[in-house]
Each structure stands twice: as structure tokens, then as C-alpha cells.
Symmetry: C2
Subunit: 200 residues, 2 copies
Amino acid sequence: MTTVGVFAFDDVEALDLCGPFEVFATARPAGEHDDNARLFDVLVIGDEQRTVKCRGGLLLTPNSTIDNHEPLDILVLPGGPGARRERHNQRVISWIRAQNEKTQILASVCTGVVFLAEAGLLPNRRATTHWRWMDWMRAEYPGVTFISGKRYIDQGHIVTSAGVSAGMDMSLHLIDRLHGAAVASWTARRMEYSWSGVPL
Amino acid sequence: MTTVGVFAFDDVEALDLCGPFEVFATARPAGEHDDNARLFDVLVIGDEQRTVKCRGGLLLTPNSTIDNHEPLDILVLPGGPGARRERHNQRVISWIRAQNEKTQILASVCTGVVFLAEAGLLPNRRATTHWRWMDWMRAEYPGVTFISGKRYIDQGHIVTSAGVSAGMDMSLHLIDRLHGAAVASWTARRMEYSWSGVPL
């Protein structure tokens, strides 16, 4: 079993978090529906144990906190208005740096790329983000090469995606990378999600 | 302002609920990003005021209950394993029948169509659902004509969608219907969601 953590904070974009959650929670071997055959356990992780209010008012309760979660194989960092505030939370940035040493994959969705940038994990790397924030990111993090027009950019340990729903394409791509195209396509079919599967 | 309620219950499919939530919460007049310009208030509604556990373990806290929510213009009924249990909850079915008299649109996602069927709102109507449950639905509700191969079926007051992510296409279609194609396309662009916009 692979364990995926998705970071949650106030004013996170709901689908930045729930999209990857759904994709990883839905992944099964091709042809399989049973929950017991799931390939990933997915945890929502808050900085503290309290309810988080997503942009728009969706209320989420984290499964764990950054201080007590089980070891992660993959950490997903969503974006949203709250990401531009939380990037200055040094407890969070220290945790992300520690996870960088422990996880197989660190992935950002949308403006969640600010967490990777603040943690110093992107200098001289290519990254992507939501189209609306592309110029802002380039000005804020001149050491990072921000690329437009890609759903996601996979650099091995670090993977970044474009805005909101692109996090689902990135998650399906990671399933493809870890378990093959048949499993990724089956997962997309279980979600009735139109996924091109074209590698970028 | 249009108020959208999304019903939440244990073992709801996370994206059945969070997908429409995100679409309606993201809708703005074309060219507009400001949260104050939002076109919909979206509420998660539980049958009681307690935390709900989605399939896969995502924990949601309802904003209101079926006994105390503000008047709704649109009610979205998601599916998931829990829908096949909750369809036998007569308090819930009575509430849906009452909402049928009050709302402009009653919409189901995925297997959430069982709520409309149990409330007696579908006889002799066409409906759709998740591909995996199509034959089961036809056997369970022989008075309803279940149609395969459509993302959603709009019958005016009653709208049903196919599985999971099709709820986002249905929600974008409803924004198109209520506010026009430019607003629906802008909403999809804000989410970076690939939406054909082709009416079905």
C-alpha cells in the first residue's frame, strides 16, 4: 500500500485537495472495484487538529497533523488563496523540507507550488502553476523557470501541476508512472474522467 | 445570489460532492475573479449536524442540516456507496420531496439518482447514472428509462448526471443554462477544466 498525504489549510482551493484525493482513493488494479483492492491510502493532513475551511466554505477535518501523521510515500500540496499565506508559516515549510527527505514524490497543485519554492526545492527547476498566477510566480521566484501550457511537469521527485483540475491529471499521471497505463486508465474510467493520458 | 445545497452522508463519493461544490463556488461573471462577485453560495447539508466520512476517508462537516438550512434554489444529490443505504432513510426522502416543491433545480450525480427514484420524482422520465450501476438501476427502478452514453440529461426541473466527474460537467451546464455560455466557459477556465460545453 502506498500512503498519500494531502496538505489542508484554511482557504485551500477545494478541488486542488479533493481532486487528487478522489483519484488516489479510486485507484484499483484494472478491472477491480473492491475498496479492499485499493492501491493508495489517502490522508488529509492539517498543521493542527482543527477543522479547515476551504475557499467557498467547504469544511474539512484533517485525518492527521503534520506532527503525528504516518510515513508518507507521496505528499500533495494544494493551492488556493490560503497557500499565499501559509507559505510564510515556517513550521509548515520545515515539515515540507523534512518530507522532501522521506517521500518518493512531492507534488504541487495550482498555486501550491509556493510551498516548494519557499522550501527551496525548486531553484533552477522547471515548474508550472495556475495560468492566472504565472506572472506573479515569475516575479516572486525569479530562480524558478515557470512554464505555461502544460497540465503538469514531472521532474521525478518533484512534480508540479497547473491550476485546480490539472491536479487530477497529475495524479492520474503518477498512477500511470507507479502502476502503469492500464491502472491509470481504469481509475479514470471508474471516475468517468476524460483523461488523455498523453505524457507531457 | 443563487443558493446551492449539496447533500452529504457517510460513504458519499468525495468528488460527486466536491466537484459540483467547486464548480458553483468558482462561478463568476466572465472576466471576474473576485470572491465578492461569486454567483452562487454553496452549502453542504447533512441529515444531522455531525461529521460525514466520504468513501476513502475524507471528513466533511456540513454547513447546515436538512432541518435548518436556508432556502435552496438548487439541490445536488451525490452518489457513492452510502447513497444505496440513505435512499431507505425516509426522513431524507421526505426532505427531498419537500425540496422538489421549493427548488428551481433538483440534480443528481452518479448513483445519487436513487434519491430521485425513491422520492418518486422519476417515473416515465429519462435519467442517467454511473456506467457500472446502469443495469442495477434498470432492475431496481423499472419505471425509469436509464440512458447510457450521456454526461447528463436535463429535463428542466430534474437533471441527472453520469458518474463522479460528470457532476462537474452537469454543474457547468447548469451555469450555462442560468447565466450563459460565456460565464460557464469562464468558470471552467478558472478551474482549468476541459469542458466541451456541447449541450446534450
